[in-house]
Symmetry: C2
Subunit: 337 residues, 2 copies
Amino acid sequence: MADKDEGPVRSITDLARIAGVSVSTVSRALTSKGALNKETRRRIQLLAEERGFQLNVAAQNLRLGRTGAIAVLLPLGHERGQHLSDPFFMAMLGWLAEKLTDRGYDLLLSRVLPEGDDWLDNFIRSGRVDGVIIIGQSNQGAVLDRTARHYEPMVIWGAYSPRNAYLTIGTDNQSGGAIAAQHLLDKGRRRLAFFGNVAVPEFAARYQGFLAALPDEVRASTELVHAHITPEASYRMASDYFASGKRPDGIFAASDVTAMSIIAAAAEQNIRVPDQLSVVGFDDVPMAQLANPPLTTIRQDIKRGAHLLVDLLCQRLAGQPCQSIQIAPAIIVRESS
Amino acid sequence: MADKDEGPVRSITDLARIAGVSVSTVSRALTSKGALNKETRRRIQLLAEERGFQLNVAAQNLRLGRTGAIAVLLPLGHERGQHLSDPFFMAMLGWLAEKLTDRGYDLLLSRVLPEGDDWLDNFIRSGRVDGVIIIGQSNQGAVLDRTARHYEPMVIWGAYSPRNAYLTIGTDNQSGGAIAAQHLLDKGRRRLAFFGNVAVPEFAARYQGFLAALPDEVRASTELVHAHITPEASYRMASDYFASGKRPDGIFAASDVTAMSIIAAAAEQNIRVPDQLSVVGFDDVPMAQLANPPLTTIRQDIKRGAHLLVDLLCQRLAGQPCQSIQIAPAIIVRESS
DNA sequence: CTGTTAGCGCCTTCAA
DNA sequence: TTGAAGGCGCTAACAG
């Protein structure tokens, strides 16, 4: 029947010629859309398989007016370091990849150095993706707000604020801070410090929740130490801090990486954790249980967060109404406190 | 001059109408390709900016017969755990993202559960990307070999073997193993063990290099402990191992994550590192210096590796000849040994 | 220097 | 049930 036409099959046109049918028939057979004789469909699908042919996704998408891809953007606004290697983001990225694949989307990964205030609009207008997930609002709240007014399919992982025009999914950072405070108080700690960069909205909320849960006299003496997010910077900051003679008995760190850096710096200066100093982290990254001593930390449910991000984005893409969600954190008590 | 035509500008056709020129003129102006009157070009670029118009990348790519994207694939063949959160891989991904962006490519991230032996061909034939970078050959050597015979633009991060038909970039794992062995010997250690899953070719090479560098009598007593890659699994394995009364004085771990798990398990059973036990890791992930004690490890130059991967892939895309490269590892001595 | 035209590979309406 | 034809947004000959 079919000509034993050799040569590579590059398009439905080729396949149609070989099968002796029209391109539209091939299209219908391979997309399983539209009415088509069962036998014809099977025959063409078989032929395609045999010849190793698959529809060209790019052309398909162009025709359908979509891209089939979702961008995951990491704005590196406040921290220039190797942000992308932060274990928290990485775990998040893993779950996002899985969830987006399940939904039939490709994941386009992009590190962004936000320059000026139209990097986001530019990216969106280039038309490479159908929607955008942004991990961490960094210091780009204004840009996000502006874009959100005219671009729907965008969801941000980060701290919630009723003032934001954009959709967020994120841990309830304030209550996380409060839990950490209560835990340190329960341990009898009274000379406290917070390590973190409060220019990052998420960290600011953790600090605020922490402070708010302390009795006045404790709060008054609580120190704020501006630690950066990379291990190196955190370590140096903690080292200098201890070297200057500061001896708090409880530290709440804005992230597990910072907490582990603090423990390392403390060990070096013979400050015993948890005997002399209790340390509480934030995130519960996989590495936290391998810290020495294993890290007490405020757990963010990363998997759930990733799922919510994708679900919400898909709702937006489907034109359904939806709203920001805060996820309740939980404390994981190990041995560092 | 130009009509003050309102309404959104969705394509070069729209913009051409507004500007009173032809579509090809707009195309030439916006791509900065082809000869064009300087003034005309400026005028159209300005107009585009003003109306917030950018070329549709998807259409552009379709026309040019490319996609502008490179896939980064993670075959999760041998380990079902959260491989994507492995810090080594993450650091690699970060550098790849940066380097590919520099080269004008998008990065398409995909976790792959290799099923059957045509997952790779299927992916490639879907035409979503111009090239493929695969992180870790896992247990998929045969699949990679077969694909490499008919698909050029593919580079693999992993162990080199002259038997492979595919291009690899990777650390010289054997010599890394040898360096670790020499270091432990120098420290006076003689009762040794290797922790790692030797079904993974990279780990097998580390083990092999390790063994080969040992004197016969030490080698004969060296134990192989089959530890998985996730922190949880490694920790459990090390815990059971120590609990069973085993007391080596030197351990070489296939990865930093495993090494840190071993240290955590040792600490729990009051085995002092490095007094009673020297531990050497592999990778030098950022976290390694935060371990307690800070981890002695065989460093892989991840940044250089990522750059080479991208460079090599681009050479392939340009049709230039190229060959596999091994990167020399270096030991970073800290306090765990 | 600029316009006209023919596709890139696919989907879909309309007709047969 | 199937085919013909137009077009998604863009680029690149080829003319003028």
